[in-house]
């Protein structure tokens, strides 16, 4: 993990103190709400339905135990004892008081955390692979580049007032765990034929009311030219992005209007004018950042752990957990452990203060003090010895954190929806709970296999419904909560936007409809096909038939 230096620390303390002054002036009536709102948003503080909500960045989804314990402390002292992990590697607290916000920012700054640029029309927290440094698939550590972008984009004077918010994702593995292709910029790290590294640059992906899978505008950007190229992309967007219409202000609209080719041409033209020596990161600075992500001191272990194999053979619950939540590690004798925040009846992505403290302890004892947050609203212990897996499993199980459902039907992404969010039209959380209840039988869930359900309470699509195998969008239809289903989306390397299944359904029919969709899939699936594969082979019709023929 990147180690803050004196400059980084002073910067956060200054920023927090500046915000304390702004809050003081607002409470004293020296500035208006219209003047104050952009300032609080720049510090991640929203006013939601019941209270203020504070969104804290977790750069590249990486937390150490001290930070995790501090989040637990904030949950206990300033919230109602829990936090909510979002779909962009942030954590949100739902019950924050404005008067407490400056104290909370101070407490975050003490452990190198902040809420800067988690809102507002600026470059937001960069999403990265939660398996970074642990998966054998990656060709470089994407956290290094995420940190480079974090430092470059933080309070960037030219890009602090963009036409609209701006989100970047980076992956260095062929398997995309960041939804890179539906970000404003997706950077896919590739190895060139000559062994050098470069980024494929995807621009203009996005969700919301106009979803796009972003087109590729550059096949191979040498990594040492990253910042000047980003500057060129942002500059073209900043100049031509639509500031007149909030619904057309994202870069995806500009890229679609110009066409990817013309947009790429304008970026190249801009890029050619930029002085690389000024704009690109000096090699020494890259080396300094890279050194913070120095290799984890793994032990040399046999590839096969007898203790692990024995536990698997004798404990079927553990074996199920291993099948679904444990992934291969690059280092022999180690494993990546996914910690599900999708237990039955749990609010997707919520973790209590006690649970946060428990995973902090486990990270400290069993995972080199490293904890990760995924965009699918789960946690990851990235470096667990196979020998320790039975112990880690038992500890997680005792805390309700061992639900064996990663990427299965009950591992549902859901936004806070109308239960919390001022923008929502309908609730998302109770729909997720209904579906999870419908598929509570773990044998059935495993038989169904990988199936990604994602629910948004409004068209802004924080719940990623456009890129779900089964997407669910809450709408307000004549004053009632209704839900529109879509099929065939994917946020992974095979990204696609889902297609609407048919007329929206009332809340109490959604879980049944999902059951009918699953039934239709099981009827026609070929060997080894995921739900998404079957849908792509057979199309919408059999699924439409399954839901609406019976609904008439």
């Amino acid at each position: 993990m990147y180690q803050y230096d004196v400059i980084d620390r002073e910067f956060l303390i200054d920023r927090s103190s500046e915000f304390r002054g702004q809050v003081g002036r607002r409470l004293a009536g020296e500035i208006t709400e219209d003047q104050f709102k952009p300032l609080r948003l720049m510090n991640g503080l929203y006013l939601q339905l019941h209270a203020y909500m504070l969104r804290i960045a977790i750069p590249y989804g990486s937390l150490n135990p001290t930070q995790t314990r501090r989040l637990a402390e904030i949950a206990r002292d300033y919230d109602k004892g829990y936090g909510h992990f979002t779909t962009r590697q942030n954590i949100q607290f739902n019950w924050i008081k404005l008067k407490d916000a400056p104290d909370i920012l101070d407490k975050l700054a003490e452990v190198d955390l902040h809420a800067i640029q988690t809102s507002g029309n600026c470059i937001r927290n960069t999403t990265s692979d939660p398996y970074a440094g642990a998966t054998a698939e990656e060709i470089d550590d994407p956290r290094v580049w995420s940190e480079v972008i974090r430092q470059w984009s933080t309070l960037h004077p030219e890009f602090s007032f963009l036409p609209r918010k701006f989100k970047i994702a980076i992956t260095a593995s062929a398997k995309d765990r960041t939804a890179a292709k539906v970000h404003d910029i997706g950077l896919l790290l590739r190895q060139g034929r000559d062994g050098t590294h470069g980024f494929e640059v995807i621009v203009g992906g996005g969700q919301g009311r106009t979803p796009y899978v972003g087109p590729s505008i550059k096949q191979f950007l040498p990594t040492d030219r990253l910042l000047s190229y980003l500057e060129a992309v942002l500059r073209v967007y900043n100049r031509h992005g639509r500031r007149d219409n909030i619904y057309k202000a994202r870069i995806k609209i500009l890229v679609a209007a110009l066409g990817a080719e013309e947009f790429a041409r304008q970026v190249e033209e801009e890029w050619s004018k930029i002085d690389a020596a000024r704009a690109d990161l000096p090699a020494a600075e890259l080396a300094r950042i890279r050194a913070s992500f120095a290799k984890t001191p793994f032990e040399t272990l046999p590839a096969r752990s007898e203790a692990f194999e024995l536990a698997k053979a004798h404990d079927s619950a553990f074996a199920r957990f291993v099948r679904n939540n444990v992934r291969a590690h690059k280092q022999p004798g180690y494993a990546i452990v996914e910690v599900s925040l999708k237990a039955p009846e749990q609010t997707p992505g919520d973790a209590s203060a006690d649970q946060l403290e428990l995973v902090a302890d486990l990270a400290e004892r069993y995972s080199f003090s490293d904890l990760r947050v995924t965009h699918a609203q789960n946690l990851v212990l990235p470096h667990v010895k196979q020998d320790d897996l039975p112990t880690v499993f038992a500890a997680l199980q005792a805390a309700g954190l061992a639900t064996p459902n990663i990427d299965l039907i009950s591992d549902i992404i859901a936004c806070p929806g109308l239960d919390y969010c001022a923008l929502a039209n309908a609730r998302a959380i109770p729909i997720a709970q209904d579906i999870a209840r419908q598929f509570a039988d773990p044998d059935r869930a495993e038989e169904v296999g990988e199936l990604k359900i994602k629910i948004s309470g409004c068209i802004n699509a924080c719940g990623h419904h456009h890129v779900a195998h089964i997407g669910i969008l809450g709408v307000d239809k004549k004053g009632e909560e209704f839900y529109q289903l879509s099929l065939g989306g994917s946020g992974a390397e095979d990204a696609s936007i889902g297609k609407i299944l048919g007329p929206a359904l009332p809340a109490d029919k959604v879980a049944t409809a999902v059951d009918q969709l699953v039934g239709a899939y099981l009827n026609v699936r070929a060997d080894g096909e995921r739900f998404l594969d079957t849908y792509r082979r057979v199309g919408l019709e059999p699924f439409k038939e399954a839901v609406y023929a019976q609904a008439d």
């Binding site: 019941h50 203020y52 008081k97 239960d419 959380i429 307000d476 909560e481």
Partner: protein, 119 residues
């Protein structure tokens, strides 16, 4: 029937207008059956920018012999999140909370009556 709601500046708490004061419980909110006093109270509320933000009137319907906000959104504001029944105002329980919980209809759009801003 109408009531007036806002969020308290200091902590974001949902509050309701009651004869010149802001109260936390919907059950204590002042109810209006004519428009003029609503407009006057909203104007007064909007003149208190260091006390409340986002002042607006809401439509009410009858539920179990009591009044409840027409829109689902406003009922959730008056109760708390439905996924955590012990969080927010609903934790207190009682007849008003039950009446709010059992009210039906109107997710969002029809309950807030000043969504279209006339200047």
């Amino acid at each position: 029937m109408k009531a007036i709601t806002a969020n308290r500046l200091l902590d974001g708490e949902v509050v309701f207008w009651k004869g010149g004061q802001w109260v936390e419980r919907f059950g204590e909110a002042e109810l209006f059956d004519t428009d003029e006093p609503v407009e006057a109270a909203v104007a007064t509320g909007k003149g208190q920018p260091t006390v409340v933000v986002d002042v607006y009137p809401i439509d009410l319907i009858e539920s179990e012999g009591r009044w409840a906000p027409l829109s689902y959104r406003e009922r959730i504001r008056a109760l708390g999140p439905t996924n955590e029944p012990t969080h927010g105002k609903q934790a207190e329980g009682g007849d008003v909370v039950e009446a709010l919980r059992h009210a039906a209809g109107a997710a969002r759009s029809t309950g807030r009556v000043d969504l279209i801003r006339r200047k």
